[in-house]
């Protein structure tokens, strides 16, 4: 076993929370993107990819650092897979440069790049056994046979595939195939492992298991992983940083916590987790706070350093768990909206409340069911007041 030992890493040190996204809690230690002295392992420089008239990727500039578990997130057709395929070498960028470990690889063919990919379809060679599939990349290097066997065994051990060594891919279940595909992608110990929707074909339960397996492998091998996914929960779970893409453009690159707490645009706010957005115009900007006149006559105030000017149209984003719901009218008029409970989703530990405001908007609030007293709880048709503190909302300009 000559696997590199993993450096302590934010997303792996603490056991990651499964339910719901992590909060903006300090990403202790591992944050190479904040270190100006560190050179990125992957640098996309003004990458554009056009297919005829269609611009799949538009001027993407992005740095990814060693040992990161980096997620490219976005809906289908947003250009995330194209970006990954350009890094693998299957597509040539129309414009821009790709630099890996200081070397410009833009013109290199796939078989000369220090990256290995795990395909969405797994792309396992149907005429080869599990063993031969995993050893395929090593055989291309002309490695001695005993060395190949050793490395293949190491990869099989890591993914618990030893008992399937002699089977063909069509004799394996979906989950097993997925593990073979991953083993094959890491067997050559590449600098970077690319994962194109690696868990898309698994059912939900297996998928969650596989996510943790991916993190474990990434941690033990200390390799840089770049994953493409359209599943925001998956990205939040596995990634050290997430790049959200929309229509070929990078919209935001940040840690999962940052993306959740400080989404840059309405699109991201809506894409990751549930969110309520109140539209309005800026009425006052003072000492780190922005006051907003809601379009329905409510007054909002929120702490924000967002650069806005008075009169500008903005959105105020509020996560459901940040909204308090109560039957008594709060003492203030700021950040308060009255409404009527339209729907209650009781989920055991928490309840979702869908509240219809007087102007007809629907707001979702979350409440933890900490008290035992079921009778006290708010229910259908109740008149309620929604309110939140000044540091709960996020001002959206985009």
């Amino acid at each position: 076993m000559v696997l590199a030992t993993a450096q302590p890493q934010a997303n792996a040190t603490a056991s990651p929370q499964r339910a719901g996204p992590r909060t903006a809690a300090p990403q202790s230690g591992f944050a190479p993107w904040k270190d100006p002295k560190l050179a990125p392992i992957v640098r996309f420089e003004g990458i554009t990819k056009r297919f005829d008239d269609f611009v799949a990727v538009n001027e993407v500039t992005l740095d990814i650092y060693e040992r990161e578990f980096f997620a490219l997130l976005g809906p289908s057709g947003c250009g995330k897979s194209t970006l990954l395929r350009m890094l693998a070498g299957f597509e040539r960028p129309t414009d821009g440069k790709i630099i890996v470990a200081g070397q410009d690889i833009t013109a290199l063919p796939p078989y000369e790049r220090p990256v290995n990919m795990m395909f969405q379809s797994y792309a396992l060679f149907p005429h080869m056994t599990v063993e031969r599939n995993i050893g395929f990349g090593l055989r291309q290097e002309g490695m001695p046979k005993d060395k190949i066997a050793e490395r293949v065994d190491e990869a099989m051990a890591m993914l618990e595939l030893r008992q399937f060594a002699k089977r063909k891919p069509n004799q394996l279940s979906g989950g097993q195939q997925q593990r073979v595909a991953l083993a094959r992608a890491i067997a050559k110990k590449p600098r970077i492992v690319l994962l194109d929707e690696p868990l898309g074909a698994l059912d939900k339960k297996l998928r969650q298991q596989a996510q943790f397996e991916l993190m474990r492998i990434q941690e033990t091998t200390g390799t840089t992983f770049i994953i493409v996914t359209h599943d925001q929960e998956e990205a939040m779970t596995v990634a050290s940083r997430i790049a959200v893409m929309e229509k070929g453009v990078l919209v935001q690159v940040a840690t999962p916590g940052d993306i959740y707490e400080n989404p840059k645009t309405r699109y991201i706010a809506g894409f990751i987790g549930d969110v309520n957005v109140f539209e309005g115009t800026v009425s006052k900007v003072s000492d780190g706070c922005i006051e907003i006149d809601g379009k329905d006559g409510y007054k909002f105030k929120t702490r924000s350093t967002e650069k806005v000017s008075v009169g500008q149209n903005v959105g105020l984003a509020l996560r459901p768990e940040k909204i308090r719901i109560g039957r008594e009218k709060p003492a203030t008029d700021l950040n308060v909206i009255p409404g009527k409970v339209e729907d209650v989703g009781y989920l055991g530990s928490i309840s979702h409340y869908h509240v219809r405001t007087a102007p007809g908007e629907r707001v979702t609030a979350l409440r933890a069911n900490s008290a035992h007293t079921v009778e006290q709880s708010i229910t259908w048709e109740d008149q309620v007041w929604l309110d939140w503190p000044v540091d709960a909302g996020v001002v959206l300009t985009g």
């Binding site: 693998a88 299957f90 063919p109 796939p110 078989y111 395909f119 792309a123 990349g137 094959r184």
Partner: protein
């Protein structure tokens, strides 16, 4: 419905094809086999014995013997004709494979919207009679034919080509005629290969040419096998092509059979040649059936 009636009804479905095979294949074969055990005679029909109720079955059978077979094995002409046929069939199968593979590969890799058209073009020759197409090759290959004129005009040769009525012309004719039978199964197996397999091979460090031999070619083997047998089996017994394009040097069993039957009017010997030809071909035919079965199972 009871199992019995289900069984009964099953026969309605599989009965007709079995009846068809019995009447049109098995009975003719039995007749040919019987003929091969008979002797030539100057009569109508030109062989003996013929069955009659008067003499009875035992007398009839006692007159049958394997003389024709021992004659065939005793005369190197026939053995050579078999060997030569197998050799010509084998080589032309190989040539057909070499010509068809790049074509099928190109078809499978062509844009999806082109593929039906390309398929159409492969099948198009079947719209003209096989015989007419072979006659057309005479016009191309003869010394004063299109090919010679064209090559002389280009300045590549100064003398007309002497390939008409040679074994070379037979190879050209077989490769041309059986090309679609090779292309179609090859295309079918190449088209099924997931393109991401090749990407994966390249991603893992395999150069395109190696990726072809490590991934594409092994995965196309069922098509190679099916195509080769579809060409080899009929090519062994081919008569029209060696007759029209080949010369006296071209020894093929189909031609020998024809000569025995029509020129020598030796029906029994011709039948023995035919029965032996069938025995020779049974091995590749069984192989072909076996492989088709494996294919079907793999598809399930």
């Amino acid at each position: 419905m009871t199992a019995k009636t289900a069984d009964y009804r099953r026969w309605y479905v599989i009965g007709p094809p079995y009846l068809w095979l019995l009447v049109l294949f098995l009975i003719p074969f039995v007749i040919v086999f019987k003929l091969s055990l008979s002797q030539v005679a100057t009569a109508i029909p030109p062989y003996t014995p013929t069955f009659s109720w008067a003499t009875g079955l035992t007398a009839f059978i006692s007159q049958l013997n394997f003389d024709n077979y021992s004659f065939i094995f005793g005369d190197p002409l026939y053995i050579n004709a078999y060997i030569s046929s197998l050799k010509i069939a084998f080589l032309s199968t190989l040539l057909t494979l070499l010509v068809a593979y790049p074509m099928a590969y190109g078809m499978a890799r062509a844009p999806k919207s082109w593929q039906p058209t390309l398929m159409m073009l492969v099948i198009l020759p079947f719209w003209t009679s096989f015989l007419i197409r072979i006659y057309a090759w005479i016009a191309i290959l003869k010394p004063e034919g299109f090919l010679s004129i064209f090559l002389i005009k280009l300045g590549l040769i100064s003398e007309p080509l002497q390939i008409m009525n040679t074994t070379t012309a037979v190879y050209i004719g077989i490769v041309y005629s059986y090309l679609p039978f090779m292309i179609l199964p090859l295309y079918a197996s190449l088209e099924k290969i997931n393109p991401s397999l090749l990407e994966a091979a390249q991603d893992l460090g395999s150069q395109p040419w190696r990726a072809f031999w490590q991934v594409t070619f092994p995965l196309s083997l069922p098509g190679v096998f099916a195509g080769c047998l579809l060409v080899f089996i009929p090519a062994v017994g081919e008569f029209v092509i060696p007759d029209l394009l080949g010369g006296s040097e071209t020894l093929m069993i189909g031609k020998t059979l024809w000569t025995e039957f029509f020129n020598n009017r030796d029906w029994p010997l011709a039948s023995a040649v035919a029965v032996l030809l069938l025995l020779v071909l049974i091995i590749p035919i069984v192989l072909f059936q076996r492989q088709q079965e494996l294919e079907r199972e793999a598809a399930r």
